[in-house]
Symmetry: C2
Subunit: 302 residues, 2 copies
């Protein structure tokens, strides 16, 4: 039985960055988030793939302790496909093509063994699916964290706001926060998130790190100064997955431990950007995370 239920996409990605490219590589928000989470706590994925999804990916996930029992395999269907490109500014991907495939009409069914989980990560997927998964839980989980994406803010703003209203921690990147609340000011956007009932608003800023706002505090976490970024795809998902994983492991929701969770999540996200697809992520060990965590202390001391 998983400790953390992760809903999101599973995908084949074609990604081009200034440093290389991959085609048909394993991707998707649930994939990245659950692998990142697995460093700290046992995740279970709720998602859908087509019958073209290779068993080796499932086996890799299981080898990391990911429960794949909630992944629907749609016979004859094709796995969701995303094609994107990054320019020299690696903070923002340009989507070149999206083929929803099996995601179209997907109605997630949360397996019975998952419904009592204390931790729920609503990864980047249609906000109606996020709400659908939340409603299937037997009881309100102890902690619900939600991520979103600019596409859903444009297409289903009201539903995105409904999600933010239901969760404990809302994650979004700075463009999304500005877009959702129609303000250039990140602090103002964060205050709007908190006014919507989230306890914590975390604004992700790519290589610039992130800022976490509560009603009466502010935490600035720098980005890790990577010398060799290859592909930032999925780093935001990794951040969310590692964050909830750390909180599930420690079960301490104090402000101090939240900050530690955020720094751990930043470390995991930074490793992910050092490789294409999940190449680097799947090789990260806890000792790597711990080493980077202590480097962070040195970066901010004054």
């Amino acid at each position: 039985m998983p400790i953390v239920v992760v809903v999101g996409t599973m995908a084949f990605d074609d990604v081009k960055t200034p440093f290389g490219s991959v085609d048909g590589a394993l991707g998707g928000s649930a994939t990245y988030a659950s692998l990142a989470c697995s460093l700290f706590a046992r995740p279970g994925i709720v998602s859908v793939v087509g019958s073209d999804f290779p068993e080796k990916h499932m086996a890799m996930l299981r080898s990391k302790g990911v429960d794949t029992g909630g992944i629907e395999v749609k016979q004859g269907g094709k796995t969701f496909h995303w094609k994107g490109e990054y320019g020299l500014d690696l903070n923002d991907a340009k989507t070149l093509r999206t083929d929803l495939n099996v995601l179209e009409g997907f109605k997630p069914v949360v397996p019975d063994a998952f419904r009592g989980a204390d931790f729920l990560f609503l990864g980047n997927i249609d906000p109606e699916l996020q709400l659908g998964v939340l409603s299937q839980m037997k009881k309100r989980p102890k902690l619900v964290v939600a991520d979103t994406m600019n596409h859903w803010i444009s297409a289903k703003r009201d539903k995105v706001i409904e999600v933010v209203n239901e969760v404990d921690i809302a994650l979004m990147n700075e463009l999304e926060a500005r877009q959702l609340f129609r303000t250039p000011n990140l602090r103002k956007a964060a205050m709007e998130i908190l006014a919507l009932n989230s306890e914590i608003a975390i604004i992700k800023k790519g290589e610039h790190g992130c800022i976490a706002f509560t009603r009466n505090s502010h935490f600035a976490c720098p980005g890790y100064p990577l010398e060799n970024v290859l592909d930032p795809t999925g780093s935001g998902d990794c951040f969310g997955g590692a964050l909830i994983g750390y909180l599930a492991k420690t079960r301490d929701f104090s402000e101090r431990n939240m900050r530690r969770a955020i720094v751990h999540a930043s470390c995991v996200a930074s490793f992910n950007a050092e490789g294409f697809s999940v190449d680097r992520l799947k090789r990260v060990k806890m000792k790597d995370v711990k080493r980077r965590y202590s480097e962070f202390r040195g970066f901010v001391r004054f």
Copy 2:
């Protein structure tokens, strides 16, 4: 006799931001930098204005302890004029118009009383003028800090590199660093700056704060989370002026004190963005800076 010599522009600025606009307002890199510096140490400006430059601006600068004896007033000339606009992303100004006016053909003459100063700030101006001022100092100052601007990197890249080669601390913003060294990676750009003989490379990131690199350390300073940014013009110059001012006051170039100087500089720069032109900057008191400085400690603790 000033402790810190500041070379840079003095200007009339027309600025439009999403929050308002001003026309013919006091601006220029030397103006902002010297006002910011004056919170910590006595600055002396080397610059040029036209006979249209009002005495009230000179009087305001002197009232803050700025030595105006090195400002050439070119009779019949018009003061440098800059017109710029900011969109919702306040991190980057769009230059709409630049009238060099008296800056054209300007040959700075460093007054004799300034030539023995221990601290020199080469604010944003033609890099040949920056080098000209440095060469007029009686002895190599104890600390030379240089700023630059994308315009000079495009127009006189070799001279910008010569400046970086001569100074102790090189400041530039992230776009400039990427442009100067033709890499998207800030860490790599910083390493190039250090390879050019600067002891410290400080990459300014606007609202995201800044990163300081030395050969074996990395300091991430977050931006202050402003609720009401009105106009970021000059905040980078304020950062530089306050940085050298703090170092001139404390005369301690240790890594630890450098970090404190950077946080103080970030505080002063953040105040500047709360008003148009120098409206907020000229009202900042040391107790305001100290209050914000202690807030920064809380922002980064984990």
